[in-house]
Assembly symmetry: C3
């Protein structure tokens, strides 16, 4: 379903919590005045407002929210309406302790914090159904409301008896027989064989945490349980008569939930971005990681997403809360747009006076002024977004895809060898991604359940687990002319985390033209090397020994007892080819390697230009193709153009070069 | 009440635990022989002796203690008599488990350790009442007993149902209405609104720890509850007929109790000093921190205090147990006297044979000899203290005061941003203090409930919370001619840890002549700079952006986007002035800055001399003004005198200079 | 009892878990084919097989195991038969939760992991008795079975009520009276006096962990309880009619059990060796530590031991799983033989497909091939072992012994001062040992219960606790002409961890000719120095101040306030001498010092040759004396010979030198 956001252009706004200020009407008035001043056209309301909406059990008080939504609408500001499930009122925790989560130590939490509710609890499900129903009835049809914001940052897990019982049901449905279960979990190891379904328990520190199949299934179950709860929330909203689209705000590289499983549940994906700008790794490193995750979020539904939370200044929960330097707020906001966001939203509009996030950057600070540096930055973003509405709905049309598969991530993280001090799945994916970011070539992300048809190039970094028939899909992809790049730790385990017996990469030995024998692990600081195209590159941390069958070696190890053995190879298969990188390489190798490949495959860049270090270009393609040129240097740069362009916002033409100020971002179209 | 310590001069002695040696009478005899040899005139008895005093429930055995106190007295040694509440007998823990504490994980402790009793438990209160009453009756009037030593190092907290119920009572008495409570704790954030007092729970990891107002009130409650228990102990002592003064031994920079709240409860403040001499930070750093805490202890009642515990050699629980080098024991002992102590006491007189502190340095070691290096050091201190009795009761008469406010400390430590990896309140206070230590200018410490009338200079480092009407007090102070120095993070939150709305520093914008906009945080190793008086100083970690209204800029930031903005300013207000230091500066800046100020204000130094690095002078003023010159270098130094002095102990005159041996300390009076 | 291993020569094989592959008969066939190819003559079966042997309560299924043992035997492969107690079936944990352990937090574990059973539980004892009995009856007399493998890696502790009750019984039997208990535990400290045996509790974090005597007795109890359980297992085996010898596989430097207490219980000692080859410390450091522990294992019974587990390649649970470089598997396997092992066994024969050790190096990998590097390494070891059968049963006949006393280790580790950041008992023992390793001089290890009669040299590094009449034994040893080397922290506490009163080293002041006064502790990076024999050596971390009475100083401290005081001394006593090293010295000093001593005492070396760095020689003496020359350098070396030798395996003669390839090991006999 294509969501209807009421013809709005780019959304600009943020979480708005007027329930904290109901006794100060002058604040609420100032809010609307300032929102208009800042070009805000959309806010999220009702997040964490359950106590205000249902102050006593069964006593509903939605009036204030209806008033606020109405007043906002009168002032041209739309509302995203939250369901309040992310935090429960004190009375509920007191009367029904079962709504609270049980931790991995198997004791029940007390009232407190967020995300502290059991997804299974019948009482909690009943209570959230009732309040969602009422919200839907009261406000689901309000012309000012455009979208449902389900809960807030779904996450965590509950180990209560009810959840564990659900897990047993889930396991039983999946495996049907105890024999199948014992085999999948390799239960014979350490005499763990189950002889009754009731013996199955969640993996907890005081029980069993070393059975990989169990760990993996528990994680899958947690995703399924969360989605079950989310569906329950949606059902209440629909029962209330609202057919508005729904979203849920996801979190940066969150490991606890397989977000690809949300693609059929959510109408729009949204997420909360808090990169550590000006951090110890530098702005370019932060920019690449943020870009990568923007692209992951866009890829889940292959649709534009919403930037649902961000901060115009400091993030108060990081070790060092840095101010965003001048220009960075605009750049980081428009970076989201560049990668497919149709919004720039903040947490939160106005700083709270108390509690744990009172110093988190907001559009309006405790001084209640609009002449602050931060407010001006926010208003400037509002102004630019007004001119970018034409980009809404557009996508980058990438021809390259990188695997980022949650289940593989879980399995790798739990592998027990070869490198327990750091397997670095996320960093490795980002390193491959960065090569494309530096070239300004659009990239999608896929998991193993995705189709590969639209791509020319598919990259499989540490695709350790093979599942969902990926062997067949990849084989067909290459046969039909696709280019596949795989790395070490490829196709070693099946979907139960059981090692494949026989040749690996499983089912793709012929495609890669090689078979795996063993993998060596290096200490931090240890190095081997790889000579390629006249340059010597360091390899570190993980070095695989493979035997080439049909593949052609492109580079060999420089030292250790496997010196001279292949570390980089290519194999022709069908109409395509498969490259294999057998060791962990540094960024510079990946950049050079993919530059070679991009040239060879004529992969199209977002902008036909020479990008200096720290500068990238993304694109959004609708009737026009808009390239978004971004300078993450805190210094001016000159970008040499190979074709003339003009500024999408101002019409200014550029023929030979574009000069960018520190942290400047420009939207360009072909002239 | 001015305590009557029976006309004793400086006390010298330590914790004495004869109950560990009752089966070895030769040890007890040797103790008295050695005490006399070491110039010991006072020991603390009965600490942790409950099991010996009440071996079975209701069976009291005070005879051994009466004998010991008597024998000591016959030998010229006075006793400080402890109440035994700091450790309870095994039989009590077994019969009444409720006397044991409940930890923050909400499980009850087993018998063990010290400080493991509930302050609320009616049984525990009853039991301690009975034993204290008996001790008071038996020994409270003994001519050899001079002081009550209440418990030992009061500290910790209990989360049992009884304590939590007391907390609810406390909260209800404070806030009266749930509306007031919810507002003060900003409970609307995350839907935490309380709808019944019974929903209030202590902050614990499995419950809520992110509500700053709750955290703060819990800490306040713990102090109040501890004092309530202490009052109960005192009441028993008084009921037994003793009107001797009472003390309690406090701990170095202990965060868990607001010691300023003890000022009206204790007749004398005493504390336990274990600086890490010869540590990685160097002796001067250790000396400054120790001096600072001595001054804090003296400031609580603005009265001389007692050094109740120290070690003549190694501290066995530090990571590295270093021996005190020759001279250091004398220096460190007399440093306490220099800052207002009327005693030098040790933990403990004789090393225990077993258990966790058996290697803690004591006057007498396991070899039972008096010809050891340590014993000789102890005896030497005893000898010098004999000559210093005239200093008893005297004070330094400081004209400068620095805020060290426990509630502000708690709030800053819990602030969540701007620098979670290190806000460094204690270090910052010490850094300001050190400037005065290096000049030999006496300093008092104050909290926000203190009066400012006696001071010419008041320093407010990171006075983040404003409470107790401090705005008015500081405004009046400056108006009347006082000099105020404030820093970044000034007056941002109220007594509930709620951010003030509007201009900050709250209520003192006009006094400082500026308003706050935002604060930047720097990583370790990052620097900005400040040019002042022709020198460039590094600034680090925290950089505030302020707008001067009436203040005059004295220095600006050297780099980053706020280069050129004010970092040091001064504002004339009434007959006084207010300086504002907007960023974290290094020690050298603070030294230069306060040196300028001291000269400008003609602040008097303890000794009219040029102090080399690592040398300071304190003073005690009674009929004579005695300056205490202390060399913390392990090397000889020469101090150039601006006026002639003579040695208070020997009468030796010095005209142009005094030479000090490594770690030497001299008491000097004007000639 | 001298074990009868059926006339086998060196054992070669490993843990074999066919129960994981019963549904894949082709795997089981391949196993036997490959075992024969690899020279495997012995495997351990049944470890962790309880669930397969007793799939339901009382339903026994031993048939598959009987079949496997039979088939192995038919193929010339013997079996070591395990009792399955190390992991229990799920049904048992479910039906009898009391078989599971209670952790130190006093909550009971869930089913999971290994080593998770209570050693006291009557049900568990009954169940293990029954299965062991059946195993014994069915297979105890099988001609293919040669040895019982009791459980697996006994370890851990249980804090359940039953175990705590046993502890109370143990304590009561030991101390008889509460008075004796209170004295031994110095309970008067902190009023911990016990007035009833029922008050005794195990040391746990929420109770008491600071009473050294209690901690020590608990550790002793855990060893005794484990042995009690082990005896119970043996009794079942004997009741089944088997009189085969028994072993239990011990763990590297495991602290939790006093392995010397196992010497009368086990017929053969075996252990599991996982050195971190090619690690950050280098191969020589790893080799010395491994050699040291091999020698400890041999010393427990003063008999050859079995290497029961090792890996032919990566250890999957270390931070970095490195492949063994070519040659290292052969060298490390034969190093065990060189130090007294009569076997080389692996964990495990074939890699599991799933669960936590699936990537642990095994002879056969998931590719099921025998043409792998690792398999060839394994086969090569098998081949060499065939030629070394003549060494079985032989020992090194060492004349030097070093104390490695578990109770001393426990007490030192718990001492609370003088250096809580690192007392380094194991490292210190290894440092003394290394001096002999570098010279190729055989060394035994002893604890304080051992006899000293067979030795010329006894070394007592940090023999902090004196117990078991060691004072008398050492005095007699020196009187009769022995050479004793003691160090700092010598003879300070008795068997209850109570400090001796009076002169120390307790009872040996006259033997060492000195008395202890105090000990200084240094920070990491701090140094003092020692001049000896014209060289200056650094001393670090711990510096004792001692007073020489009759001893002669050999070296003095170079700096600090104890500069000039003795740091190395020797005392003549009776016909022998006692050296005292008062400070922690570096490796180079120990090497030089023991080289001097070895020459002076004419201690015999395993090989009459000049050993280059990284090369050592061990020996095994039966009718022939076989020297085992080992090169731990990844580079060739030349060893200069002082007498001609010939290769034990090949007969090749060497006159002036032997050249060794990287990681080569050679067995040599006098020509």
């Amino acid at each position: 379903m294509k969501p209807d956001l009421k013809g709005l252009h780019m959304l600009h706004g943020g979480d708005y919590n007027p329930d904290q200020w109901l006794d100060m009407p002058e604040i609420l008035e100032q809010d609307i005045e300032y929102m208009k001043k800042a070009g805000v056209n959309c806010v999220s309301v009702g997040i964490f407002a359950w106590a205000a909406l249902e102050p006593e059990e069964g006593v509903y008080n939605l009036g204030w929210l209806v008033d606020i939504v109405g007043k906002l609408y009168e002032n041209g500001i739309y509302s995203i309406l939250a369901t309040p499930s992310a935090a429960r009122p004190a009375w509920m925790a007191q009367k029904y302790p079962e709504v609270l989560r049980v931790s991995a130590d198997l004791t029940r939490n007390l009232m407190g914090a967020r995300h502290n509710h059991c997804y299974t609890s019948p009482v909690y499900r009943q209570k959230i159904y009732e309040i969602n129903l009422r919200l839907s009835k009261e406000l689901g049809g309000h012309p000012g409301v455009i979208l449902w914001h389900l809960s807030n940052e779904y996450g965590g897990e509950c180990f209560c008896p009810l959840c564990q019982e659900e897990f047993r049901v889930w396991v039983r449905e999946k495996y049907k027989t105890l024999e199948a279960l014992n085999k999948a979990w390799w239960a014979t190891f350490w005499s763990h064989n189950y002889t009754d379904w009731s013996q199955v328990e969640a993996p907890v520190p005081k029980g069993e945490t070393g059975v990989h199949g169990l760990n993996l299934d528990w994680k899958r179950f947690v995703t399924d349980r969360t989605i079950s709860f989310m569906r329950h929330e949606i059902a209440a909203v629909r029962a209330g008569g609202s057919d508005l689209p729904v979203t849920a705000n996801l979190m940066t590289f969150y490991n606890g939930l397989n977000y690809f499983k949300f693609k059929d549940e959510l109408d729009i994906v949204s997420w909360d971005a808090y990169p550590q700008w000006h951090g110890t790794g530098g702005d370019v490193e932060a920019a690449v990681a943020a870009a990568c995750y923007h692209d992951i979020m866009r890829s889940i539904k292959n649709m534009p997403f919403l930037l649902m939370e961000s901060t115009p200044s400091m993030t108060n929960w990081q070790p060092v809360s840095k101010l965003k330097k001048p220009g960075m707020h605009e750049l980081s906001s428009l970076q989201a747009v560049a990668h497919g966001s149709d919004s720039v939203q903040y947490f939160q509009w106005r700083k709270s006076r108390g509690s744990s996030e009172k110093f988190h950057g907001a559009a309006v600070s405790h001084d209640c002024r609009s002449d602050t540096r931060v407010f001006r930055d926010v208003a400037r973003v509002g102004k630019r977004l007004k001119g970018l509405g034409g980009l809404c709905g557009s996508l980058p049309e990438a021809k390259a895809a990188i695997f980022f598969d949650w289940e593989n991530r879980w399995a790798l993280g739990d592998s027990a060898g070869p490198r327990n001090c750091g397997i670095r799945y996320e960093e490795t994916v980002i390193a491959h991604y960065r090569a494309f970011w530096e070239m300004g070539i659009p990239v999608d992300f896929i998991d193993m359940e995705c189709q590969l048809d639209n791509y020319d190039l598919v990259i499989a970094p540490m695709l350790y687990m093979y599942r969902a028939g990926i062997e067949e899909k990849l084989k067909t992809f290459v046969e039909r002319g696709g280019v596949l790049v795989g790395t070490y730790l490829q196709g070693l385990v099946d979907q139960s985390d059981l090692c494949f017996l026989g040749e690996t990469p499983h089912g793709l030995s012929d495609v890669y033209g090689l078979r795996y024998e063993e993998i060596d692990s290096l200490y931090d600081g240890e190095e081997n090397s790889l000579d390629w195209n006249g340059k010597t590159y360091a390899v570190t941390e993980l070095c695989e020994r493979v035997h080439l069958t049909s593949a052609e070696p492109l580079a060999v190890y420089g030292s250790d007892f496997y010196a001279g053995e292949p570390v980089l190879s290519v194999n022709s298969f069908g109409r395509g080819e498969a490259y294999y990188i057998a060791a962990r390489t540094q960024q510079c190798f990946l950049c050079d390697f993919y530059r070679m490949l991009a040239e060879k495959m004529s992969l199209e860049r977002a902008l036909d230009a020479q990008l200096p270090a720290g500068v990238t270009a993304s694109r959004r393609v609708s009737d026009k193709t808009v390239a978004v040129l971004q300078n993450f240097n805190n210094a001016p740069v000159t970008v040499l153009l190979y074709s003339p362009v003009e500024d999408y916002e101002t019409g200014e033409p550029f023929y030979d070069e574009v000069r960018l100020q520190p942290y400047e971002v420009r939207f360009l179209i072909a002239k």
